[in-house]
C-alpha cells in the first residue's frame, strides 16, 4: 500500500461537504450527486492505492443516466469497513451497484453510501437511478439517515485528531 500522503484538503466552515438530490421517478429512485467535497474524494483516492473498480461490481441496480465513471477500490480496508452505525441508522461504503436503502426490520435502516467513491465525484454532478421501489416513508428515512451518515463519516474518517502524548519519568521509580 502506498503510504505516501497526498495533498491535505481542508474543509472550511460553511462549506458543503455533500449535496445530494433524491427523487422517485418512473424508473426507480434518481440519485443526483451535486457536490462531494474534495476531501472525501482524496480520502478514497488514498485508500485505493490507484486501484479502481466498476460501479456495478457488487450489483446491477445502478443505472446511469448518462455516463458513469468507475469507483475507487477499498479492497485494502474491506475487513474494517462494513456496516457502520450513525445517528438513527447505519451506513456502508462497500456495496457498489446494490440497493441504497435497506429497511430496518425490527431495527434501524441501512443506507448505502458507496456512490461517494465515484472517481471525479468532486468535479461535478453525476446522476444515476436505482432500480427498485421506495415508499414515502422510505424516502424520509433515507434522507434523514444519509444526512447523519455523512456527518458520521466525517467524524470517523476525516476529522483531524490532535493527539498529544506526554511522557514523564515517575517519581516512584526514582525512589526505588
Amino acid at each position: 500500500m502506498n503510504l505516501e500522503m497526498t495533498e491535505t484538503v481542508n474543509v472550511t466552515k460553511g462549506e458543503d461537504i455533500v449535496k445530494l438530490r433524491l427523487r422517485r421517478s418512473s424508473r426507480g429512485l434518481t440519485v443526483s450527486i451535486l457536490k462531494v467535497h474534495k476531501c472525501i474524494e482524496e480520502m478514497f483516492r488514498e485508500w485505493s492505492n490507484g486501484e479502481t473498480v466498476p460501479y456495478n461490481s457488487h450489483g446491477r441496480k445502478w443505472i446511469p443516466s448518462g455516463k458513469l465513471p468507475g469507483c475507487y477500490s477499498i479492497q485494502a480496508f474491506q475487513d474494517i469497513l462494513g456496516v457502520q452505525p450513525c445517528k438513527g441508522g447505519r451506513y456502508r461504503l462497500d456495496s457498489l451497484g446494490t440497493d441504497i436503502y435497506v429497511p430496518g426490520i425490527g431495527g434501524e435502516a441501512t443506507v448505502n453510501m458507496s456512490f461517494l467513491r465515484f472517481i471525479g465525484a468532486s468535479d461535478g454532478p453525476l446522476e444515476f437511478y436505482v432500480k427498485g421501489v421506495y415508499s414515502k416513508e422510505a424516502m424520509d428515512t433515507l434522507k434523514r439517515v444519509m444526512h447523519s451518515a455523512i456527518l458520521q463519516l466525517y467524524i470517523d474518517l476525516l476529522k483531524p485528531i490532535d493527539v498529544v502524548i506526554t511522557m514523564s519519568s515517575s517519581e516512584t521509580s526514582k525512589e526505588l
Partner: protein
C-alpha cells in the same frame, strides 16, 4: 397535497382511465378431470383443502359405525370430488382479458379455504410507489366492504372474515418497503417480513402489487366483479393521490467542529 377524502375515491370508481399494465390472476380450488389443459398448470397449495365435513370424518373413524354413519360415508364418497387441487395462475394478461380468462379456467369446486389473488403491474415504477402506503390497503378494505354489501354477501361469507383481518393468509399489516425487497417466495407466516398480507408488495419477485384479500366466490361472474372492483379501487386511488413528486435534498454543511462534536455525543 395529501390523500383526498374517501368520497373522492368513490366518485372516481370505475370512471377513470386504467393505469394497470398487466395482471396475473391466481384461482384456488379444485378441478375435475374434464379440464386436461388446466390440470397441467395447477400448482400444489397447502392452504387449499377439500377435507370431508366433520360429521363424515367422525363417521369414518367410528368403530363400529352405525348404519347412519355408514350411509353418511357412502353418500360422501358418491359425491363428485375434485381430482386436482391447488392454485391455477394465469400468465400476465391485460386487464380487459381477465373476464375471459376467469370464465374459461374457473374451478369446478371452491370452498372457504380457496383464495382469489390478483397481481397488478404498472407502466411506471412511480405508480407502484404511490401505492406503497398503508392508506391504499385501508381504501381497498373499505371499498371491498361497500362492494360486499352491495353484492348482499351473507355474514358467513369468507370475504367478511378476510376484511376483518382474521385470515392468516391476508393479514392487515403494512410492511411494503421490506416486502418489496424479498427476492424469494417464502411460505413462513411467522417471520417479521412475509408475503401473507392483504396487499403484498411483491416487486422483487414479480414486479407486482398483489391483493390477497379476495376469497373464491361461488360463481365465475361474481369473482370477475370482485377482481374488477379491486382494479377500479386501485385506479381511483392512483388518480386521487396524483401529485407532483417532491425532491428530497440531502445537504451536509461543515459548521465547525462544535456541531460535529454534538453529533458524536448523540450518535
Amino acid at each position: 397535497m395529501g390523500l383526498r377524502t374517501t368520497q373522492d375515491i368513490g366518485i372516481l370508481l370505475h370512471k377513470c382511465r386504467n393505469r394497470i399494465n398487466m395482471v396475473g390472476i391466481e384461482l384456488e380450488g379444485g378441478w375435475d378431470s374434464t379440464r386436461p389443459l388446466v390440470n397441467q398448470q395447477i400448482i400444489r397449495d397447502g392452504s387449499v383443502k377439500f377435507d370431508p365435513p366433520q360429521d363424515v370424518i367422525k363417521a369414518i373413524n367410528a368403530y363400529p359405525p352405525t348404519d347412519k354413519q355408514i350411509k353418511l360415508v357412502e353418500e360422501w364418497k358418491a359425491k363428485p370430488r375434485p381430482q386436482y387441487i391447488g392454485e391455477l395462475p394465469s400468465p400476465p394478461i391485460k386487464p380487459d382479458i381477465v373476464e375471459k380468462w376467469v370464465k374459461v379456467h374457473f374451478p369446478n369446486f371452491v370452498n372457504k379455504t380457496c383464495g382469489l389473488h390478483i397481481h397488478m403491474s404498472f407502466h411506471h415504477a412511480f405508480h407502484y410507489m404511490v401505492l406503497m402506503t398503508s392508506e391504499y390497503q385501508e381504501r381497498i378494505v373499505e371499498y371491498l366492504r361497500l362492494w360486499a354489501s352491495k353484492e348482499d354477501l351473507p355474514r358467513t361469507h369468507p370475504l367478511w372474515e378476510r376484511l376483518e383481518g382474521k385470515s392468516e393468509y391476508c393479514q392487515l399489516l403494512y410492511i411494503a418497503d421490506a416486502q418489496s425487497r424479498l427476492e424469494r417466495k417464502a411460505y413462513d407466516r411467522n417471520v417479521p417480513v412475509h408475503r401473507y398480507t392483504a396487499i403484498n408488495y411483491s416487486h422483487a419477485t414479480h414486479g407486482t402489487v398483489e391483493c390477497r384479500l379476495l376469497p373464491m366466490f361461488d360463481s365465475a361472474e361474481q369473482s370477475i366483479r370482485a377482481l374488477k372492483e379491486v382494479m377500479a379501487i386501485t385506479n381511483a386511488f392512483l388518480v386521487s393521490t396524483a401529485r407532483r413528486e417532491e425532491k428530497h435534498e440531502v445537504l451536509v454543511k461543515f459548521d465547525g467542529d462544535e456541531t460535529v462534536e454534538e453529533l458524536k455525543e448523540s450518535a
